[in-house]
Symmetry: C2
Subunit: 212 residues, 2 copies
DNA sequence: CTTTAATTGATACTATTGTATCGATAAAAA
DNA sequence: TTTTTATCGATACAATAGTATCAATTAAAG
């Protein structure tokens, strides 16, 4: 409580993947420099937000030319630790789980899904080149591979049970796609992903639109 | 610009589905009243946040007993317009699309997915009791059914094209699961859903954890 | 070489969101 | 009936996030 660490604010953190994606695109298009204005336009943000966010990642622009694309990309990658991927496993190979297994973009964000687990014998095999193992092998395999992150895509009623297995297997972060609160000990981080939130937001935006 | 309408803040809106889910559970457990403290504990929030959010939805609690569960549920449903569902269609019946088609919870949040569309002939048929039509029939069917909301689950490179079709068919809201910015005319609302944001947040929380 | 225009980044400001405090209220206990 | 206690809700406060302004800088144009 004595000294307050100055942390980068969360919205900035959450925008970093956007910037990286757009910089990648811009680079593919052959641009070597890009202005905050251009990025803002392309990403539906304010230019000043872009400048401040890039400043946080340690990126300096040049007046009249903007930011060097390549330098900005590596700065973001270093700042966010996207370069040294963390190994992850996924539990629950239903449609959502398989969709996540199929995403190719995660590796660029430092996430390497090495395997999935499911309690349904029919699911055992391979999806998108990733092995799917029986859930019974979860603990042993995770410990062997020194997995850090677990992605939770099981039906809600199994959420806490699988969470407990993840904690027991030494995982430090859980990306939770179920609508349940997870009980975890100190030292384990949970990131909720609740689609209902976005839907609620869309609903009110729509009704506000028709009122106005 | 003359008078500023006082709008409910977005975080409150986004928490409403959580409350509704928890109230439903609590009701199923036979409780008739629930305190802000109980809800806060169960949802990992502060009690005062719960009280303020419920107050926004017009729910009054009683000292010493808390909030009436049934009344709170109907208040939220009315406030959020969850009672009169809006018809929606989904485009892109890949894994993610099928996962969304299978969610049973959306109807409680006022979203009724009536059909899906895909350009792949192999996908035509039925998934989770929902018909999947060829994309070529999109416009006609949407107009006939007076669809309001489109759920976009196609690969990024098709995002803008399908968006244009949605706009042309008169849809007013687009729930965008692609990582692309969509260009839409005034009067059409876009809600982005970018998993990378949550992943970025999880990453930094993890690294902060190991530093501390 | 001088002027112009585009763009950054520092500073200050505003708005939004969350938190703490505490008196008021109503149920339960004495 | 009176006292106690849990809980709400009003008010004030603090932290976070976003926005506006503008001098400083640098490339390009004149």
């Amino acid at each position: 409580m004595s000294e307050k660490k100055r942390l980068t604010k969360l919205p900035t953190i959450r925008r970093m993947p956007m910037y990286l994606r757009m910089l990648t695109k811009v680079q593919k298009d052959g641009m070597e420099h890009v202005s905050s204005n251009y990025l803002a336009e392309a990403l539906d943000l304010e230019a000043i937000v872009v400048r401040k966010d890039l400043a946080v990642a340690g990126i300096l622009g040049k007046p009249r030319v903007g930011f060097e694309v390549k330098a900005a990309m590596t700065a973001i990658e270093q700042f966010m630790n996207f370069n040294s991927p963390t190994d992850a496993v996924l539990v629950g190979a239903g449609h959502l789980g398989q969709a996540l297994l199929g995403y190719t973009g995660f590796i660029n964000l430092g996430l390497n899904i090495v395997a999935a687990f499911d309690s349904d014998a029919d699911k055992i095999g391979t999806v998108h080149d990733k092995p799917i193992y029986p859930l019974s092998e979860f603990s042993d395999r995770c410990k062997n591979m020194n997995i850090q992150i677990g992605i939770l895509c099981v039906p809600g009623r199994f959420a806490q049970d699988v969470t407990d297995q993840m904690v027991a297997a030494g995982l430090k972060g859980i990306w939770n796609f179920t609508p349940r609160k997870l009980n975890v000990p100190n030292g384990v981080v949970v990131q909720r992903e609740d689609l209902a939130e976005g839907l609620a937001e869309l609903s009110v935006k729509l009704s506000r639109m028709s009122e106005a």
